[in-house]
């Protein structure tokens, strides 16, 4: 619902001020859709060392392939 209201506001704003509406929508899109913890969202990015080599690995390094991350602990 929030999303719809926001988009409507953008449209009203865009038509009233003849600013380049397309551009503002594009810039705002990541804010509207991206980071989240539910389906379709980008989870917060992280960079962590490899447990054995210490090499820094980012969550984004696996783009282009499905990835399953499992959090666990020795305790």
């Amino acid at each position: 619902m929030k999303k719809i209201v926001f988009v409507l506001l953008l449209l009203i704003n865009g038509s009233a001020h003849t600013l380049s509406g397309e551009e503002s929508v594009k810039t705002l899109e990541p804010e509207l859709n991206d980071v989240g913890l539910s389906i379709g969202h980008m989870p917060p990015a992280f960079t962590l060392p490899d447990l054995f080599t210490g090499e820094m690995i980012s969550s984004g390094d696996f783009r282009g392939k499905k990835a399953a991350f499992f959090m666990w602990a020795s305790w």
Partner: protein
């Protein structure tokens, strides 16, 4: 742990399997578990609880499953690779690319949130405890963790970590003692009520 290796051997071509150790004591305590399981998948270390804080997660095991674009196909949450249902859903997603209905039904649309003041203080104490452990000041680290869990008692990433540091025999000498954990939890819950 053996569950991940079997899963990785079967589906590793189609899905990157990455396990992330939440261990404040560092790589040394986590490595033997991966080695014992013969793990050849990618293993990372989250010593400072970076994911727990960013994802509102206070326990393990937790799964984060993303598609080729890096988008979640399942709400971040509890998983067990040894659970038949979960494995079936994973295989369905991997082989068809379709998100299982059960994953959609269980999705509550959760979003990251800012930590409360108490959670932030608990985290600061947790981070200090890690620094103290590195300096070999185990007793001081335990004291900090004891202050931390009182501020954030439902955070098992802090509370069970404390148990393991204070009572390594209950965690690292062969079998994990679940009865002891239950009793410990009851003891602490009594203390928290005061």
């Amino acid at each position: 742990m053996p569950g991940w290796q079997a899963f990785y051997q079967e589906y590793g071509e189609q899905v990157e399997v990455v396990v992330i150790a939440q261990d404040a004591q560092g790589a040394e305590v986590a490595r033997p578990w991966v080695e014992k399981a013969g793990g050849t998948y990618r293993a990372l270390l989250d010593q400072h609880n970076a994911i727990g804080k960013a994802y509102n997660v206070k326990f393990v095991p937790v799964g984060i499953f993303v598609d080729e674009e890096g988008r979640l196909v399942r709400a971040v949450g509890s998983v067990s690779i040894d659970n038949e249902t979960l494995r079936g859903e994973l295989v369905e997603w991997i082989t068809t690319g379709d998100i299982p209905g059960a994953w959609r039904d269980a999705d509550k649309g959760e979003k990251p949130r800012v930590l409360t003041a108490d959670e932030q203080e608990a985290d600061a104490l947790f981070q200090h405890a890690i620094a103290l452990l590195k300096q070999g000041k185990r007793e001081d680290a335990i004291a900090e963790l004891k202050r931390a869990y009182v501020l954030d008692p439902k955070n098992w990433l802090i509370r069970k970590q404390l148990w393991a540091i204070e009572n390594p025999g209950m965690f690292y000498d062969g079998k994990v003692d679940y009865r002891w954990q239950k009793e410990q939890m009851a003891r602490e819950d009594e203390e928290l009520k005061k």
